[in-house]
């Protein structure tokens, strides 16, 4: 039996179709993936993302543990701030990409991917033990509901039901807050590329009221509940990574296009391997492909040049904003220059696709298409 969100019954009442993702049965869509997608770009959407993990790190050396175990020097991240980063194995491959939040009371709240919280928690506790650090990670995933409110109108909506100042909350800012009178962690984070916030609510029962309130108050902003289908196309248009797809088979942050997230000025697990890979060069890198011909690239399809396989699609779909096939693909370095034309093998056909710069959909898309 797959696990379910504490809000499962609410999703049924809202007419959701479900899908099983990383061991969780979650809403795939409520009405239409396309409509939900466009509503997040233009208005606002509410997501239940309780399949994501929650790990709390406490202890004198919590920052040292995070610095050692991630690409970021956590000492640099002040209270009320968060960071997107990744946890690596010694060989430089990614165990998981995460967000950690430095909460006002010194604790850190980590959000691992669905089904990864146990692995991440055990890894962090092993690292702490081996390095004699006074820090402990605790997997509290089942004790939290995570809601995401995403879209250009998300702040106007959330402002009405939250008791802290979110006007000036920067990207990756975080705080404790009451939302609809319920205790929550709020952060300005998300997976859609839009203005947005995420709420971590415990105990899970409390989240039901918040979910209903957001939909109620959100009516004037044309809110819709959004399923995992649109969550996937929204993140793909922004070239955000999906762990199960983009890290499959073991990928380093250099390969996955996360060079920007590597803070080289500190020591971390996997750093030596990354330095070696960087020096050696010639590694496949994640590449953005926009289809010229009709057709939809999907996970696993081959990328070719002159009949030779030069890469493979890790994530692909149609872009609801652009109405074109788009893909993230691992491509050999000599073939991934922006503007190059490659071919994606779709069943017995080849469709042409152009290498483009990320993201596929710019932040001004909604303004330009209103």
């Amino acid at each position: 039996m797959p696990l379910r969100s504490p809000l499962h019954e609410i999703h049924i009442e809202l007419g959701a179709k479900f899908t099983v993702f990383a061991g969780y049965e979650m809403p795939l869509q409520y009405t239409s993936i396309r409509d939900e997608h466009l509503n997040v770009r233009k208005n606002v959407g509410l997501f239940d993302v309780s399949h994501m993990g929650n790990v709390i790190i406490e202890g004198e050396d919590a920052a040292r543990l995070l610095s050692l175990a991630t690409l970021e020097d956590a000492n640099r991240i002040e209270k009320n701030k968060g960071q997107y980063t990744a946890i690596l194995r010694e060989d430089g491959t990614i165990i998981d990409d995460i967000i950690f939040l430095h909460l006002p009371d010194e604790k850190y709240a980590l959000i691992p991917n669905a089904g990864r919280s146990e692995v991440v928690t055990n890894w962090l506790n092993d690292v702490a033990e081996k390095n004699n650090l006074d820090a402990k990670a605790e997997d509290v995933s089942r004790e939290y509901v995570i809601l995401a409110i995403q879209g250009p109108k998300s702040r106007d909506l959330l402002r009405k039901i939250i008791d802290v100042d979110i006007e000036n909350m920067p990207l990756f800012g975080c705080d404790y807050a009451k939302v609809s009178g319920v205790d929550s962690i709020v952060s300005r984070t998300g997976y859609t590329g839009e203005l947005g916030f995420e709420l971590q609510i415990t105990p899970p029962e409390n989240a039901k009221k918040v979910f209903h309130d957001i939909l109620d108050v959100g009516k004037e902003f044309n809110i819709k509940p959004i399923g995992l289908g649109a969550r996937d196309t929204l993140r793909l248009e922004k070239c955000f990574l999906l762990a199960g797809n983009e890290f499959e088979g073991g990928r380093t942050p250099l390969e996955a296009g996360l060079s920007w997230a590597i803070n080289w000025d500190h020591d971390f697990i996997g750093k030596d391997a990354l330095l070696k890979q960087k020096e050696k060069g010639n590694y496949e890198r994640l590449t953005c492909l926009e289809c010229i011909d009709k057709g939809i690239p999907r996970h696993g399809y081959a990328v070719e040049k002159n009949g030779k396989i030069v890469g493979r699609v890790s994530s692909g779909n149609i872009s609801p904003c652009l109405n074109k096939g788009i893909a993230l693909a691992y491509v050999k370095p000599e073939y991934r220059e922006v503007g190059s034309i490659l071919e994606i093998s779709v069943r017995d056909k080849k469709i042409r696709a152009k290498v483009v710069k990320p993201p596929f959909v710019s932040k001004d898309w909604a303004k330009e298409n209103s």
Binding site: K17, T19, L28, Q29, S32, I33, R34, G229, T233, K294, G295, I296, R298, N317, I318, P320, R347, K349
Partner: protein
């Protein structure tokens, strides 16, 4: 799958397959084929259709076209054996017609039937209704 909503449309005058294609007998030789309202509702957001070549011979039960929604790639099976005599080219630019009008504008292909007996093996509206309400 299997949930039937009150609004589901299953026209009495069509034949059906258990893989959710519909068949309309156009004349002595030719049938029109598409996917049912139930099927389009399950798929939602149809964004791409790959049609067969006109003239292609198809066998009952074999893959005949591909319909892709945002979430999945689905094979559409030939409900009868025969030759493809027409395809709905408009779907190449407007695949959403299958969502909006599964029995009219969203038709997929016309097939010249090779063996009329095969029509007897198709489901009538009542039988199909039972199938999707299971």
């Amino acid at each position: 799958m299997g949930e039937i909503r009150m609004s589901e449309n299953i026209p009495e005058d069509l034949k059906y397959t258990d893989t959710h294609e519909w068949v309309k007998i156009k004349d002595e030789k030719i049938v029109v084929v598409g996917i049912t309202d139930h099927a389009q509702k399950e798929l939602t957001d149809i964004v791409f259709v790959e049609l067969p070549a006109v003239g292609k011979e198809v066998k009952k039960g074999e893959e005949m076209c591909i319909v892709e929604s945002i979430k999945s790639v689905s094979e559409i099976y030939a409900p009868v054996s025969g030759k493809i005599t027409a395809v709905n080219k408009e779907l190449e630019d407007a695949p959403e017609k299958i969502n909006n009008s599964p029995y009219e504008e969203g038709w997929l292909v016309e097939i010249e039937i090779a063996n009329k007996d095969e029509l007897n093996s198709l489901l009538d509206a009542d039988a199909y209704k039972k199938l999707v309400s299971k």
